[in-house]
Amino acid sequence: MEEILHAEGLCKTFTLSRKQQKIERTTVKRKTAVDHLTFSAYRGEIFGLLGPNGAGKTTTLRMLSTLIRPDEGDAILDGCSVVNQPEEVRGKIGFLTSELKLEDFFTPNYLFDFFSRLHGVEEAVIRKRKERMFSRFGIDRFAEVKVANLSTGMKQKLSLVISLVHDPEIIIFDEPTNGLDVLTARTVTDYLQELRGDGKTIILSTHIFSLVERLCDRVGIIIDGHMTVCGTLSEVCDGIPLEDRFFNIYKEVKGGEE
């Protein structure tokens, strides 16, 4: 198995505003979101980061996608460091999260071309890829409709397509099925499996056990910014359903605190 992603000792802390301190009922000014996180992902697999809300999944994915910089540690994606070569990393990954929005004013057609050009894709390739992706997701009929006028599902599909305009080797998805109706969610998960079939590596974060069980080859469970368990699905589950296994681990970690 070829290691395509290796995160080593990733750390990220945030300063809490007074308002946030009040909400979290704490007087501590800094909060550690990710605490020395180390894990690897291999080419052609789907790796799932599983954890409750606020565990540090999104922060980890944002560091991997170079949107934020780790305070400590580094991650090497396909030979490039997120700390030292952020532009090269961005060229190798496709990142999709609900935070990334598309301008309402433009049409899918325009946006596909625009982002392809920013990724340096050749014009002939853009045309072919657009045709294939748009028809795969049924966007072709809405190619000239402004994003503002698209349905929520169609917007999500377009965001997915836009994040993959450059055919990246590594695809990072933050909560890929969040807020999607069952049909769109199915389209997305089917496509993720298709991408794996094409040899792409997918890193996704989720708190939905069934999604991990259905899709992921390997899984890492994050609690309070720590990687508590990491391995293949069968290794992590250890013969019991993932959900039960997760609660056991959660109790082990949190039990001491309560």
Binding site: L100, K101, E103, F106
Partner: protein, 393 residues
């Protein structure tokens, strides 16, 4: 790198030119509004002047002195109906009515003698002339100004006699029109304000708006360098703001004939090709520095509304810079002035409009503004790189 900048510029243009409402607010409306407002103002003023010019005014002079005869009959009389007769308090009271177009002037009975005595140091008492008029009547009021200044000129001729030897003979050597003086005081501020409003109409939405809508993050996950995004944004915003400025300029140019009546030929634009070229350079670099500054503030702001709040104090400072020419006599001669952004544009434009073009100062202005725009690109790049600024809400 070049192609990414161009891709961003094209996208900003597509966003702008694809939005009819935005084109109307940012490009068509400024010029149209200026044209309509200035034209209406000009037509109004010209009508008032024409009205007052068409009215026949009666000038009644009591005790017309011998010495004043020529002045009155040759210089003043063509503009009025001259009567030489005495008048009473009753006549003065009648002036109260706005419809009475009469100006009453009373000389002392022995005016010429009094002037002579004053000039030969026999007395210190200056001969007193009484003028009665109704200031609410515009035509009479304007005519009174003329009569008084003519009489004063005449009067001064006498008083100056006393110090004649020491009083230097004055020659006015100014070869420029009064227009140059007026334009150099007003136009730099107007141009700066128009360009600024152009930048204000688009920049906050292009940067703070993208932050607010979450679309900037989508751009930030592409392999494009942050400085390419900064340059692309600043250049495209400058170009669009320039269009807005040009629209305002056309509005002014078209309404000028309505503002200035043909008789005031002195107020005409008499600028050379070189002046226009210099002006173009100054305006281009001013737009660049404005777009840079507003982009920086917009990037710092949380949303478009916040950007507006942050830009307002800055706009007031720029406006203050625009007021400087009103308080000074001509453009600054100190080269340091041309290193300060905004102030340098104002000074350089003042010099051009005052027919005092100095290419050295224009070059310093251009250089300084480009350097500052470069610093702004660096700053904006830093901001695009800062997760705190880009993602904190």
């Amino acid at each position: 790198m070049k192609s990414n900048i161009w891709t961003i510029i094209k996208k900003e243009f597509a966003r702008f030119f694809g939005d009819r409402q935005l084109i109307f607010t940012a490009v068509i409306m400024p010029g149209l509004l200026i044209y309509l407002i200035y034209s209406l103002m000009g037509t109004g003023i010209n009508n008032m002047i024409a009205d007052s010019e068409n009215q026949q005014i009666t000038l009644r002079v009591e005790n017309m002195p011998e010495s004043m005869n020529e002045l009155m009959t040759s210089y003043i009389c063509p503009f009025c109906k001259l009567e030489t007769a005495s008048f009473t308090q009753d006549d003065i009271d009648k002036l109260d009515s706005k419809d009475v177009n009469t100006l009453l002037v009373r000389f002392p009975a022995d005016f010429d003698q009094q002037v002579e005595d004053y000039n030969s140091f026999e007395t210190e008492e200056v001969p007193n002339i009484e003028v009665y008029y109704n200031s609410a009547n515009m035509a009479v009021s304007a005519f009174k100004q003329k009569v008084c200044s003519d009489i004063m000129e005449y009067n001064r001729g006498y008083t100056i006699n006393r110090v004649d030897e020491e009083n230097p003979t004055q020659y006015d050597v100014a070869d420029e029109s009064i227009g140059a003086m007026i334009w150099s005081k007003i136009l730099p501020m107007l141009i700066l304000m128009m360009l600024f409003s152009g930048v204000m109409a688009i920049a906050p939405s292009a940067i703070a708006g993208e932050k607010e809508r979450g679309t900037i993050a989508t751009l930030l996950v592409t392999p494009m360098k942050r400085n390419e995004l900064a340059i692309g944004k600043i250049v495209s915003l400058s170009c669009i703001a320039l269009l807005s400025g040009i629209s305002s300029f056309i509005g002014i140019a078209l309404s000028l004939p309505n503002m200035i009546s043909a008789e005031d030929a002195n107020l005409g634009f008499d600028y050379t090709f070189n002046d226009y070229i210099a002006l173009m350079f100054i305006i281009f670099s001013s737009v660049l520095i404005m777009a840079s500054a507003v982009s920086l503030l917009s990037a710092l702001a949380k949303d478009v509304k916040n950007a507006g709040t942050m830009i307002t104090p800055f706009m007031l400072v720029v406006m203050l810079c625009g007021l400087v020419p009103l308080m000074q006599d001509g453009a600054s001669e100190s080269v340091t002035s041309y290193f300060i952004p905004f102030y340098n544009s104002i000074q350089a434009m003042t010099a051009v409009f005052a027919h005092d073009l100095n290419w050295g100062f224009v070059a310093v202005t251009l250089g300084a503004n480009i350097i500052f725009a470069g610093i702004a690109v660096w700053g904006l790049t830093k901001m695009f790189n800062s997760e705190k600024i880009m993602f904190n809400k």
